[in-house]
Amino acid sequence: MFNSSQSAVKVIRCIVCPSGCTITATPDQSGNVNFEGYTCNRGLEYAKQEYYEPKRIITTTMRVENGFLPLIPVRTDTPILKDKLKDVLKEIAKIKVQPPIKMGDILIENVLGLDANIIASRNLNKI
């Protein structure tokens, strides 16, 4: 069965290119979803992803102790579920890391069990 957010008509603005097509996703009685308004295949793929399982990359900062800078920019190494964003941001906020740190270092592994790591976006030395 589909949950409520998936049973309603959803309007999706395509971000694949600057044309910005408006794609409408309409589920029918049997659960099939009809996508309308896209003008290319990439647009359709995007709309399907946005409809069934919207994901985002998180980019934020993490606090650093005794660092050359007080914060280090971090990101998820892969997109995560959109409705988990806030939880992950709070998780990141709790933590302080120690330099030296290299770009790509995993600072939180498999954050909240979402199959994504929080990695460093740059190198950062001690003070």
Binding site: P18, L85, S121, R122
Partner: protein
């Protein structure tokens, strides 16, 4: 006084400066980067969001990641650079004077200079919002630096004026830090930045985007406590009776970027209407041997485009040193490019007549969005259409790039002015791009 010598001095150690330096170094020439901040990387370091590097590296990187890749290359190639160093003067004979707190005055003698100083943000003064001058008004980039690098939040409830990419990205950034963004207000009837940012930075968080409005009054004498926004007509004049008050404790301005060219101007180079230096098809300014690339020349949409332009500038500087440096070369005849209908500015400003057999990379921005248009290049003297290209849409936030061989397009050698227009298509046909 500390003295240095280098074949090429690069002013600015951001994305443009580093890319140009790497090209020069790889060709075996001596290069020196002068950077005013305490580390290489430039503005990318505070742009912690993703959206960089798809063209250059084939993956979506954050700003710091993109910068780090170039910093690593600079270090691997052992390219020398000076940090915390401010250039104070560039002379016509390509001597660069700078200061820092370790070496004192620094003099660098060079054969060629590449300007890569980037751009700065337009401010409240530039747009003349009436009202008080309280604490709590920041440019979006300034707030970005405070939040992402210095580690401070400049407010809790925000209004953002301007729907440029930095403004929208800051809306998400602040929301993610627990702040409330009341609205993004845009004077134009259309969003200025990318649709992707409109969706992922505003719509994802239900942040209202208010089009066709601007901030007409700032409230609060000591600390800002709100703004009045008003609807504007097509001349951007306030429509009486449309005022709305929005409470906030900080206002961010994202109202455009301007190339940073005080040094260029003081050196005696000519600037064009976009505040970037006048350059020829070799990215050479009106001072021989002084080149410009990146946002100091024109504000780009993507850092990948900055990198591409900077690589080109690096190679053109190398070519200059190998072929023209120290030789008495007479200033050749040039065609001047003119921004015509719906064109804000055009680069290059000049085309050397002797180079018309080479490919020229034209870049420009339109003044307002339009659909089903034709881009036309016209020889003013002979009133002849040299080149035309149809496009489905043009928007100011997207720079147009056109590579063109003027000789192959049969330009007359008597041409002195090349006018670039963006006009409605002469006849409406169903065409594929």
């Amino acid at each position: 006084m500390k003295k240095y010598e280098a074949d090429v001095v690069i002013i600015g150690g951001g994305s443009a400066g580093m890319a140009a330096a790497i090209e020069v170094k790889k060709a075996g020439l001596d290069v020196l980067i002068i950077e005013r901040d305490y580390e290489l990387g430039g503005i990318l370091l505070q742009c912690i969001h993703v959206g960089f590097g798809l063209h250059e590296f084939g993956e979506e990187l954050t700003g710091p990641q993109y910068a780090q890749k170039f910093i690593n290359q600079v270090n691997e190639l052992e390219i020398p650079y000076l940090l915390d160093t401010m250039v104070i003067e560039i002379t016509q004979d390509k001597t660069v004077y700078a200061v820092n707190n370790k070496d004192g005055l620094i003099m660098v003698e060079s054969k060629a200079i590449i300007l890569a100083m980037g751009c700065r943000e337009r401010t409240r003064g530039a747009i003349n919002i009436p009202g008080f001058r309280p604490a709590g008004i920041f440019t979006a980039g300034q707030a970005q630096r405070f939040v992402n690098i210095e580690g401070y939040l400049p407010g809790k409830t925000f209004v953002i004026l301007g729907s440029g990419d930095i403004g929208m990205i800051m809306a998400r950034r602040l929301t993610w830090e627990g702040c409330e963004v009341k609205a993004v207000v845009e004077i134009n009837p259309y969003v200025s930045g990318l649709i992707r940012n409109q969706v992922q930075c505003l719509e994802d968080f239900n942040i209202p985007l208010i089009l066709g409005y601007t901030v007409t009054k700032i409230h609060g004498k000591e600390k800002i406590r709100g703004v009045t926004i008003s609807k504007v007509d097509t001349n951007f004049d306030r429509i009486v009776g449309s005022d709305r008050f929005i409470e906030c404790d900080a206002l961010l301005l994202s109202v455009g970027l301007i190339p940073e060219n005080e040094l260029t101007l003081n050196a005696g180079a000519e600037l064009s209407s976009n505040n970037g230096p006048v350059v020829d098809n070799n990215l050479e300014s009106t001072i021989e041997g002084v080149f410009a690339c990146g946002n100091v020349l024109q504000v780009h949409d993507l850092v990948d485009m900055v990198t591409a332009e900077a690589k080109r500038a690096g190679n053109l500087a190398i070519e200059y040193i190998n072929e023209r440096y120290g030789k008495e070369v007479k200033r050749e005849k040039q065609i001047r490019c003119i921004a015509g209908d719906n064109v804000g500015y055009i680069k290059p400003d000049l085309i050397n007549l002797s180079d018309i057999s080479k490919e020229t990379m034209f870049t420009f921005r339109v003044k307002y969005p339009d659909r089903r248009i034709q881009i036309q290049f016209r020889d003013k003297e002979n009133n002849q259409l040299i080149y035309k290209k149809n496009k489905v849409y043009v928007i100011p936030s997207e720079m147009v790039e056109i590579k063109l061989n003027l000789e192959e397009n049969q330009i007359d050698t008597g041409c002195q002015h090349l006018i670039i227009d963006v006009v409605p298509r002469p006849e409406v046909l169903i065409e594929e791009e």
